[in-house]
Amino acid sequence: MRIALENLSKAFQHPNGAVTQVFAPLTFQIEGSTFVSLVGPSGCGKSTLLNIIAGLEAPTAGQVTVDGRPIGSDRGRSLRVGYVFQNPRLLNWLTVAGNIEFALEATGVSRERWRALVDQYIGLVGLRGTEDHFPLHLSGGMQQRVGIARALAIDPEIVLMDEPFSHLDDITARRLRSELIQIWQRERRTVIFVTHDILEAVYLADRIVMLTNKPARVFHDQPVSLPRDRHYGDRALLDLAAELLNRFYAQAEA
């Protein structure tokens, strides 16, 4: 599978008539089964980009294609998207299992498969035993695990993650990152992971696409070939993070 953003642009009109260009025509491809990280400064339109891929927002111009076929509500091809949000966005009145079942029901998975899928993905994110708990009775890290399980359980063609660990304390965030990578290595799904944290991107991704400030464009595309089972202290990892950070500063000043 190959996902292509073709000349994608998005503009917002303000009530006073002024127009903000969120991104300059944006073009790049994402190969299936890769873990791609989109890195850019806060407010550069990364979330808007994910929303367009998810079909929540329409682009002003351009299109997103999957294997050459455009996606969108009126275009026939829709993408089965698993979205992990910055806030977990769980339905707090449903139990942990109920939240995953909600996604399964929404995507039309037949009811007799729910039990097995819920069980499998709750186990995968290490939440066995919490099935009947309500989200507000869980810690932030556990809530985000539910969010990840919900996104993966629907067998998504693409997983979109929007700074999912940025609200967590550093220790929890690190543990969740390492678990996420273990899960990803087993399932090999296509992931677009948005972050403003370069070190996080280097730790997680096969490839890092770096965006400028608004109007965002790609200014650097970095394959990350570091072997898996990466560690935060690894020399090569830190060097790459430092290099990318320098590139970013150089670009910002230019």
Partner: protein, 280 residues
């Protein structure tokens, strides 16, 4: 290999409710507070004289006589009047909830309706319940409809305001989440929107329930020939303070009981997901 992590949070949750001493438990405090109320009543009654302010025992005996023998004015036995009042209240309650919820949702989702109805609601909230009771009696005469109409008019604006607020407070981020997972409209209504409205529905239910019977009594006192209000008016005319207190206490108790048994239980069950105890 599944990622196994121990869940200290869960262990903590199981160990959490540490019971305090018996006398500080909630039911104990509540029972003590009720007994104190009765005690205060008797003391004040002793001081002021039984004929002006009969104590709880005298009032209890007096009302028990009415309820057991069914004695009372008019054609009907006493329990009949309680049933009639309750029926009027429930009827009006149902109408106010259904119509009010519909209008509230409409105002929450449609800006034209919101601006248009906004002033009407303000007017409705301002008109005193007593005025509605008088107007209703002049329009519908001595009829159940008078009481029902008055109650509906008093409660409706409040129900609307609550549901309207609830509809506006629906979390847009959750709607987006549901859309990403391509949830149908039905599923979104059932699992995303309705549960968010529920606390507002309960606020409206409790208010409506507590106000409805006050308005019912007012309408009955002024013009109807049945119901608890009618009994109050009759015994007022006879200057029987023990009966007036008795009927007041009886109906108050019935309403409190209904609230405690039905509404509070349903409320606790529906909102048990809330983070009264946040773990970790």
């Amino acid at each position: 290999m599944p990622v196994e992590i121990e869940n200290p949070v869960l262990q903590e949750a199981r160990a959490l409710p540490a019971p305090g001493p018996m006398w500080r438990s909630r039911p104990a405090i509540k029972a003590a507070s009720f007994l104190t109320l009765l005690l205060l009543w008797s003391v004040i009654s002793r001081v002021s004289g039984e004929e002006i302010f009969p104590g709880p025992l005298a009032v209890g005996a007096s009302i028990a006589e009415d309820l057991v023998t069914g004695a009372g004015p008019g054609l009907h036995i006493s329990p009949y009047h309680i049933a009639v009042s309750l029926l009027r209240i429930l009827c009006a309650f149902a109408i106010a909830m259904v119509v009010g919820s519909a209008l509230g949702v409409l105002m929450g989702v449609n800006r034209v309706c919101e601006s248009f109805l906004d002033n009407w609601i303000m007017v409705g909230l301002t008109i005193p319940g007593l005025c509605w009771a008088l107007i209703a009696l002049m329009w519908f005469g001595i009829h159940d409809a008078s009481a029902v109409f008055a109650i509906v008019m008093v409660c409706l604006p409040f129900v609307v305001v609550n549901i309207w607020e609830g509809t506006k407070a629906v979390d847009k981020q959750l709607l987006d989440m549901a859309r990403v997972f391509s949830a149908s409209r039905r599923l979104i209504l059932r699992k995303v929107i309705f549960p968010q409205l529920l606390p507002y529905v309960f606020a409206a239910v409790r208010y409506t329930f507590s106000v409805a019977w006050k308005i019912a009594v007012v309408a009955e006192v002024f013009g109807l020939s049945s119901g608890v209000g009618f009994m109050l008016n009759y015994w007022f005319g006879m200057f029987r303070i023990d009966k007036v207190l008795g009927w007041t206490a009886t109906f108050t108790l019935i309403m409190l009981l209904l609230e405690a048994v039905l509404i509070k239980k349903a409320h606790a069950r529906a909102l048990r997901w809330r983070a009264e105890v946040t773990l970790a």
